[in-house]
Symmetry: D2
Subunit: 337 residues, 4 copies
């Protein structure tokens, strides 16, 4: 970290600042230039927030040299992390498709969709039991009953399951869930992240609607700092001024996250677009940009879905898409097994 002092910074206050930094364990390398003096800090600067230093009257600016994340940092761990979910691998050349309905509605629905997407080649089943909805009057998911139906579908098909958690106290209900999803609205629910960091669950961490990639990686770091390194990142569209689709898929997030970190990066084209017909081009673009997987909403009766119908594919549409995706994944040198 480099601290740029103001021109004519008060000497006494500068000495106080340097003393404080040394007491935090930093070695200080000072460089006096023509009009500015710079303090280079040597030590673990992840504990410092540039903003806090800027409050100091003698400081003109602060610049990080090292990233504020450690365990998620590609520099500390150059090889891709491969996350193993009941034998299904993701990352490091392994590509996975997670598919299923937005919400679990009935036993028939979830089991039927599970068989459908399995037959089309998806290896993981998604389905929401606890649903974050903008309105308190909207369907909130079947909650615990939904979870049970999902686990029945798991038993029936043998597919590992992915479902969303909304609050720490629910974790004890997630014993048999294979991948715990943290939704966009909870990306900075730090108590939830800390608790997941102490568990051994694989976590699928979705980017918040208006969170930077730095913030996303810092949230992964919350989980990893607790000891749990099974984290998958998910880009699902960000909020912009554009109104013709629900969110703007940030396709650049894929290569940038893969440069910043060694964690697998997947894409959710269904939530990004919010429109069924757009899932296909976005899914294809995600593979081409280097994604390690996709999460796609499939519903056996999208028109009557209790949530997210407009973006859900039919099993037939999904089956046809999967044929193309398998070819494309192969073209780009990854395996989907």
């Amino acid at each position: 970290m480099i601290i740029i002092l103001k021109e004519n910074a008060d000497k006494e206050k500068t000495a106080l600042l340097k003393g404080k930094l040394r007491s935090l364990g930093f070695e200080i390398h000072e460089s006096r230039g023509h009009s500015s003096t710079l303090l280079g800090l040597v030590g673990d600067t992840t504990i410092l927030e540039p903003d806090d230093l800027i409050a100091n009257e003698v400081v003109a600016d602060v610049r990080r040299i090292q990233e504020p994340y450690k365990k998620a940092n590609r520099k500390m761990h150059p090889e891709d992390t491969v996350v193993d979910i009941c034998g299904k691998k993701i990352g490091g050349g392994h590509f996975q498709v997670i598919a299923g309905p937005c919400s679990i509605e009935t036993k028939e629905q979830i089991t039927e969709v599970a068989w459908d997407v399995k037959n089309s080649g998806a290896h993981l089943l998604r389905g929401g039991a606890f649903k974050p909805r903008t309105s308190p009057y909207s369907f909130q998911g079947l909650e615990n009953d939904g979870l049970k139906l999902l686990l029945e579908a798991k038993k029936a098909t043998g597919m590992p399951v992915v479902t969303e958690i909304m609050t720490p106290e629910h974790l004890l209900l997630f014993d048999e869930v294979d991948v715990v999803q943290v939704g966009a609205r909870n990306m900075q629910n730090f108590q939830l992240l800390k608790m997941l960091g102490k568990s051994e669950k694989t976590v699928l961490l979705k980017r918040g609607l208006a969170n930077t990639l730095d913030e996303l990686v810092m949230s992964a770091e919350y989980i990893m700092a607790g000891g749990n390194e099974n984290v998958i990142l998910c880009e699902r569209g960000i909020r912009t001024f554009e109104t013709s689709m629900r969110n703007t898929l940030d396709i650049s997030a894929i290569p940038m996250l893969k440069k910043m970190t060694h964690l697998p990066v997947i894409v959710d084209p269904s939530h990004a677009a919010g429109i069924r017909w757009m899932v296909e081009p976005l899914a294809k673009a995600a593979i081409a940009a280097g994604a390690d997987g996709l999460m796609i909403e499939v519903h056996n009766d999208p028109e009557n879905a209790l949530c997210d119908g407009p973006q859900s594919m039919t099993p037939e549409g999904f089956d046809s898409l999967m044929k193309d995706l398998k070819e494309e994944v192969k073209f780009f040198g990854k395996t989907m097994d």
Copy 2:
């Protein structure tokens, strides 16, 4: 709610849709135009999500006529709600300033700042015990110990206190806290909102970094739907492309929220600007735009604050600002008592 059917919509599917809507208790008024047919729904449409209806193949578009919120709606409750916090009123012409440090650090710090801001005319004390920080390696607040220090400052000065909650399970620690703050990152932590809805605590609900005003009011509705109508809304800056200040204060949010809802609306100029010198003009603008109160960060030693130093005012600066604000509040016809 008006449902606009597609031209040449399939008759059978249209009949199915109408049947489904009637089974949900809606009366349907159909209008056939030249090229489009419209279904007007009569009934409580707050249970419907336009997006879910759009999934239906025969639907071209859906338009809400009634707002999706009820208890928070100004139309249902034309007079301003006045929230009473231990005798300090906010809303309906009553203006309050909430002041104090970002984080509680020591007994001396919080008590000293409390006396300072009280002497300058603030009637409520703020201080963070549980701090949401982007990095797991940053200071996370004194947590329960901080809460105890805040309550000591309350006892010493007699000021009601405001502090942030981060997760439902912490509520039992907040017994003596007067106003429970829900921070920007938790605005859509629906489990937390539901639990607060069942409590009797006054809730200060901050707008999320990239949440629309509709979403903010819907989050208030989550609390109110549970039976708790003591909600104060807080605009604290939104995330935009502009980089010269931390966030962009959405000053229009004040008149717009006051039109949408009867709840008190306050402004946090400290977090909006992220820069100390900008707190003054933003605070003044907020009063002029019709805010019912302000939340301002004050620290006895901003340069060494453990968080948010750059935006914290000194007690002297705050005292001088309060002199101006009192005059301005009076000029705009409100009382600050």
Copy 3:
């Protein structure tokens, strides 16, 4: 267009409004619902702005049924437009790569880069002579001299050339230019668009930094309304809150624009990313999402480029990328000839 009247709208004012609309040539279909009355307008509603109607006291809301664009509208012209640039086709299955330096600097530079990119398989040469720069003190391009150098490179290599125009009066200098580029900052320079509409030049129209797709298509409509239908649209990244790359490439713009309009859509990954190493994944994603072409910055000495060095590829890097892109274009069923 559907006009939704307010409940209890004044009858006399409603009659006045209807009279005014009829005098503009519209037929009105009225539907009276339970609590709202709707006026459906039949006629060419492109001359109406919904905002202007909303000003009327009796109007609650206005909803377009038909798009406000005609000549660019895919509905009016279902087949893809194929633009022919000196025999090089773009659109309708024909894919083109436009490559070259950001700015033309010297005769050697532009000619050398032209031969390089031609040998790698690019069929069109780009190079800026008039440069829009944020600062008046930055290099503004070689202007007319640059144009001459570009035309010499055209003569030497036989490649059609693309270069940016900044103001209507410069058009007379562009006689031998094959494709006139309208940059992001001039997307709503309507006088420029009108003038280009009266010319016969192929226009490459870039999306503004914060313009919606609707606005982009309306700007294309300005050109087409004047009689010039040779328009190519270009997505080049939008301005968002994300700071780790220069702009956010809106990959969804490709399928959405192709649904809205019949015009060819290309992508500029160099300006979107602003970082050399990110051009490759974005270019690949663009092809997968259905783009009809790419515009890529290539410089023979990026480190000493007078502008946009960080995002320019070397000729070697570009050559290697082109090998991949050719395979991918073929994989996705397009031709690049």
Copy 4:
């Protein structure tokens, strides 16, 4: 400007970079730290773009110490600039209201509105003759005929007039116009700015929809670099994700611009809100935040206005607002004469 070299930067390439910088006239102060070397440049760094330097392989990062603007810089010119428009002063404690219709429609309309706003206390008349409209099929203004009507209203009332220019070639029509407005869409129409820089017209420069304050000041610098220092800046709302009002008024822009520059800063609450009833609270907030003036749309028949009706006030509404604004301007210590 400080250039931070990469760790282990190639020595030969570093020497080349230093040679190039010296050849551009910079003195270089080198500081070698523990792990990084910094080059401090002494000289006029406004000619350098940090991005261009970052392209160099040995450079890790670049940081400006001096702002890239000179003539507009408050540091070079600490006192407020007072712009004099036919004896009406703006800036330095002088506050002005510019009022009038969005578009000039008829002689009666513009003259009637002119007298109305003059009688209410506005000293400058606005009215659009050349209108930038998103659609080529919308009313484009009366153009030259509108300009004539505006000048007749000027003659009749004695009010100085403000009107928008859309392209350089129109400047010769603006001889008798007192203030030439550059609209949001043309904020970076650099050819237009350069031409205005060579004229002696007072320029009202509006911030672009998604332009940063740095970019706005750089556009002012384009005009001032040409020799014309009569520039007034105008904040008119920015594009964000919020949909309940047309644009988001960036109230912080007022204090920030006044810190960056010595130029007068005014606010256009009509375009920011896009809704008539919101003009009042935004106008009041702007004064409280330190604005030097306001630009407000007033129309004698807003419901039938040919453009921007929804946000135009009636003359009666404006008259009532002006009574409040006069009091407020006085309260905040400015004069409106």
